[in-house]
């Protein structure tokens, strides 16, 4: 009986390892495929049957990286993306941290605290296609289309509620006693926030900021509508611009897409511990 159980246990374990192996292959293959295609000559991209391994199957080349980042302005697109991401992150995190702290610590009459929290969350749920048409008309009126300002402002619409909820959840995890002790010692409420709560929440603050950077760097729809000129588009839109009705520049978009992914993967490693909380807007603490 015992040996049969053990045999069954071993079989299950092996089956589990097999499933995990498949999951790993399934996850990694598309990433590998994008990367490997960015190093192929056009001839090898179109090869049938496909060629799989650099050096073994085909001579790797940096031609498409040169085409994208030297001949075409993908570096400028990346700079646009970065500036926009940093601007919206600074505003969202600083304003959101204050709001998150207020919602975590202060009393409000009646159900207001709950109502306001819920309203802020609901703005995060707004489909961007709904808000973008009025924002487009608004930015058009003030001649702000094709500007980084317009994109950064529109990104704040989803980054700010995110930052507020994240910071609210981090502050709720901190004991209020430390701030109370500081106030008994003569510090103001604001001083207690600045000098006691904020330093303690620093890991949460960093994670929130990185999430805002990732969300902004990745965003597609709003940038697609708000930027059209070559000077103003963000990296994702620049890549999409090389997928045309007549021709898709496979090598170039693979190279740019792969390069756009690298900083995100690095950032994801950094915030790994905070990932679950970030994904669930603070609702699930992983």
């Amino acid at each position: 009986m015992l040996t049969r159980n053990r045999a069954k246990e071993t079989a299950l374990r092996l089956a589990a390892y097999l499933v995990i192996l498949i999951a790993l292959l399934w996850t990694l293959f598309p990433v590998y495929w994008l990367a490997v295609n960015s190093f192929k000559l056009d001839l090898d991209i179109f090869a049938v049957p496909p060629v799989w391994a650099p050096w073994l199957d085909f001579p790797p080349t940096l031609k498409h990286y040169y085409a994208a980042f030297v001949e075409r302005p993908f570096l400028l697109f990346a700079a646009n993306s970065l500036i926009i991401a940093i601007a919206t992150t600074i505003v969202s995190v600083s304003v959101g941290t204050m709001a998150g702290y207020a919602l975590a610590r202060f009393q409000y009459p009646g159900q207001w605290r709950y109502q306001i929290s819920f309203w802020i969350l609901s703005t995060r749920m707004m489909p961007p296609i709904v808000t973008i048409i009025p924002l487009f008309i608004f930015f058009n009126y003030f001649s702000l289309l094709n500007s980084k300002t317009a994109v950064a402002v529109s990104y704040t619409a989803f980054n700010l509620p995110f930052a507020t909820w994240m910071m609210k959840s981090y502050f709720q995890d901190l004991p209020a006693e430390l701030e109370e002790a500081a106030m008994v010692d003569g510090d103001t409420r604001w001083g207690a926030f600045l000098r006691v709560a904020l330093p303690l929440a620093r890991p949460g603050l960093a994670a929130t900021a990185i999430f805002c950077l990732i969300l902004s760097w990745n965003e597609f729809l709003l940038a697609l509508i708000l930027t059209q000129t070559e000077q103003s588009v963000t990296l994702p839109i620049g890549i999409a611009g090389r997928v045309t009705q007549y021709k898709t520049y496979w090598g170039e978009i693979s190279a740019a897409g792969f390069m756009a992914s690298i900083p995100i993967v690095i950032f994801a490693f950094i915030v790994q511990r905070h990932l679950v909380r970030g994904l669930s807007l603070g609702a699930v603490k992983g």
Binding site: T27, P30, V31, P50, F106, I120, F138, I253, Q272, L279
Partner: protein
């Protein structure tokens, strides 16, 4: 607020600030969000009852419920609504089941998870544009690897994203690749926080693994499952990037989802009033669904 009165130091202004801190700290966020979401919503409400010409010199015209009446007879809108629902149900269900299954498996059989987790979570962190072009590359009918796989399995090649019957499947599959990690990670976090005692008791009572799953694991996981489903459904309802790069809503509207249709109406046909009307429908759907879902889950938990 007794705490504010204790701090006798500082100028009058500082003390005033400190007394009103709960408003001062919250106000900037609320003002910015009101500007960025309340104003557009009100604008959309007004625009939905107007005919707005692409030519700005033509004055707007109040047309009552004409735009909404058009919704009833607009076949493209009906297709878009149906496609949005089909996509959401197919993608989120698959992601949930795969994510939960994988989480249960890893939780039970793998000890040090962190490295594996880091690899498995990658797809959802990548820029959606990178995900879209990757799958476009895989689906490519002439030289894509999926047709190579079909060939090796002895099956006929397909047009994939270019095939009316397969296009929706290709979008769902790419979305499943991208977002199953989300479900997986949340489920794993839920599993990690399960209490041990009920399982020990169940073990003593001789409850089977299956019974333990139904009677203990699922009920304990319910809050996490509810949040994960809610967030994923909200996201699936606004699907845009994959459709834009893989199919442009085609072929023959097979993958035309509502957000892509609104994009076309507003920015290609420049029919702002009508686009506003469709947007309002999407907004109402989202709000009604999420409110219903949240209420229901809170009642049940």
């Amino acid at each position: 607020m007794s705490t504010a009165e204790q701090t006798a130091s500082g100028s009058v202004f500082e003390r005033w600030c400190d007394r009103n801190l709960r408003i001062l700290m919250l106000a900037p966020a609320m003002i910015i969000l009101a500007g960025l979401t309340l104003f557009p919503t009100i604008y959309m409400f007004a625009a939905a009852f107007q005919k707005i010409s692409a030519n700005v010199t033509v004055p707007r015209e109040f047309v009552g419920i004409d735009n909404f009446a058009r919704l009833l007879t607009d076949a493209q809108f009906h297709v878009g609504l149906l496609n949005t629902l089909i996509f959401t149900v197919a993608a989120v269900t698959t992601e949930f089941l795969l994510g939960l299954g994988l989480a249960l498996l890893l939780d039970k059989y793998i000890r040090r998870l962190n490295f594996l987790k880091t690899i498995l979570m990658m797809p959802m962190m990548l820029p959606p544009i990178a995900v879209s072009i990757t799958w476009k590359l895989i689906y490519e009918p002439q030289f894509g690897v999926l047709n190579e796989l079909m060939y090796r399995l002895g099956l006929p090649p397909q047009a994939w994203a270019g095939d009316v019957h397969l296009a929706m499947f290709t979008v769902v599959l790419a979305d499943v690749w991208e977002w199953t990690p989300f479900m997986f990670l949340l489920m794993l976090a839920g599993l990690a926080s399960l209490p041990i005692e009920p399982y020990e008791a169940a073990e003593l009572d001789g409850a089977s693994a299956w019974r333990q799953f139904w009677d203990l694991t699922l009920p304990f996981l319910k809050p996490v499952i509810a949040i994960a489903l809610l967030l994923r459904i909200m996201d699936a309802l606004r699907l845009f990037d994959l459709v834009f790069i893989l199919t442009q809503g085609g072929p023959a509207d097979a993958t035309k989802v509502l957000s892509f249709y609104i994009y076309q109406v507003a920015f290609r046909f420049v029919d702002i009033g009508y686009a506003a009307a469709i947007s309002l429908v999407v907004l109402v759907l989202t709000v009604v669904f999420s409110t219903w879902f949240i209420q229901r889950m809170r009642l049940a938990v």
